[in-house]
């Protein structure tokens, strides 16, 4: 189970609204390489992991991604609060406004709703850990693209923190992959699924 702490993992204090930037950043809320997909991927992959280190890491990183989801939602909120319909329209956000007003919806920058098709649970620890390493790289690249689009120092501080976390998570998943491969049965020459072929 989970316990909630009434505090962001990294502080978010954005002084200026910017609906156009919010529409880009919302991709890390509910988009293909976003934080919800990351969290659900890791928390769902825990069940078939054969080694306790992997169960622990997926639990903890999956939990941290929820904290990141909350940070991204806070950024989107602060970039769009107190806006009028005219300001939303002027920023090209009238299509979002008509469906969600200034609520924070789980969607990509292009408006696609969140789907679990963004992630995979293959049931093979080696396959899944490779997916997770790729996912961390994709999230890092997305934060870099956001940094290229943004000229807001308040936003950039937060994006740089989240980008750095993707790098650490990538490192930790790489270590897990090594642990799983080191513990393969010595007769499993071809690294068949160690969670299924006993």
């Amino acid at each position: 189970m989970w316990i909630y702490k009434k505090q962001l993992q990294f502080p978010v204090n954005i002084r200026e609204t910017n609906p156009r930037l919010a529409k880009a950043i919302i991709s890390q809320f509910g988009g293909p390489d976003g934080e919800l997909a990351a969290s659900m991927r890791y928390l769902a992959q825990r069940y078939h992991m054969p080694h306790p280190e992997a169960k622990a890491m997926l639990t903890d990183i999956g939990t941290e991604e929820l904290a990141h989801l909350e940070i991204v939602g806070s950024v989107v909120r602060q970039l769009t609060c107190r806006l009028t319909a005219d300001q939303m329209k002027a920023a090209g956000m009238d299509d979002y406004f008509v469906d969600h007003t200034t609520g924070v919806y789980l969607q990509s920058a292009a408006g696609h709703p969140f789907t679990s098709a963004y992630l995979q649970v293959k049931g093979d620890p080696i396959t899944d850990l490779h997916e997770n390493m790729a996912a961390e790289q994709k999230a890092r690249a997305t934060y870099e693209n956001i940094l290229r689009l943004s000229d807001s120092p308040d936003v950039n501080e937060v994006m740089k923190f989240l980008r750095a976390r993707e790098i650490v998570h990538y490192q930790r998943f790489g270590e897990l992959l090594r642990i799983v491969q080191d513990r393969l049965d010595s007769k499993n020459f071809y690294a068949f699924n160690p969670a299924f072929d006993q």
Binding site: W2, I3, K5, Q7, Q9, F10, P11, R46, Y47, P52, E53, K55, A56, M57, T59, D60, I61, E64, V168, H169, R172, E175, L176, I179
Partner: protein
Amino acid sequence: MAGNQHMLRDYSLPFAAWELRLYLNSHPNDRCALRLYHQLLASAPCATYAHTDLNCSSCCDQHVFGALSHMDDAACPCSSNLSDLMNGWDCACDQGDCCPLRWDWVEDPWPWDGCCGSCGN
């Protein structure tokens, strides 16, 4: 409270402890990291909850800054109440005890294992 101390108390110390957690998940036998983790845990929650009426007395004072600048061989203080407050996880060592040999967060069983784990074997 100065901005720096506020950041240290509310963000930096809990973050440093969290970062060590992830590291320990893949290096559960690294006792240096384990000891630093418990030092941070002993200091961060006291500072974090200092504005409440919760009783967190001596453990925080000597460790808030010390844990970041050096590690000595003293037994790490570790109060399960305070670590519960911080993150909701059980403390791995008993109060007044020294740090354990191993990061036992990674030990089986996990709640979902049931008889898919080792029971009945």
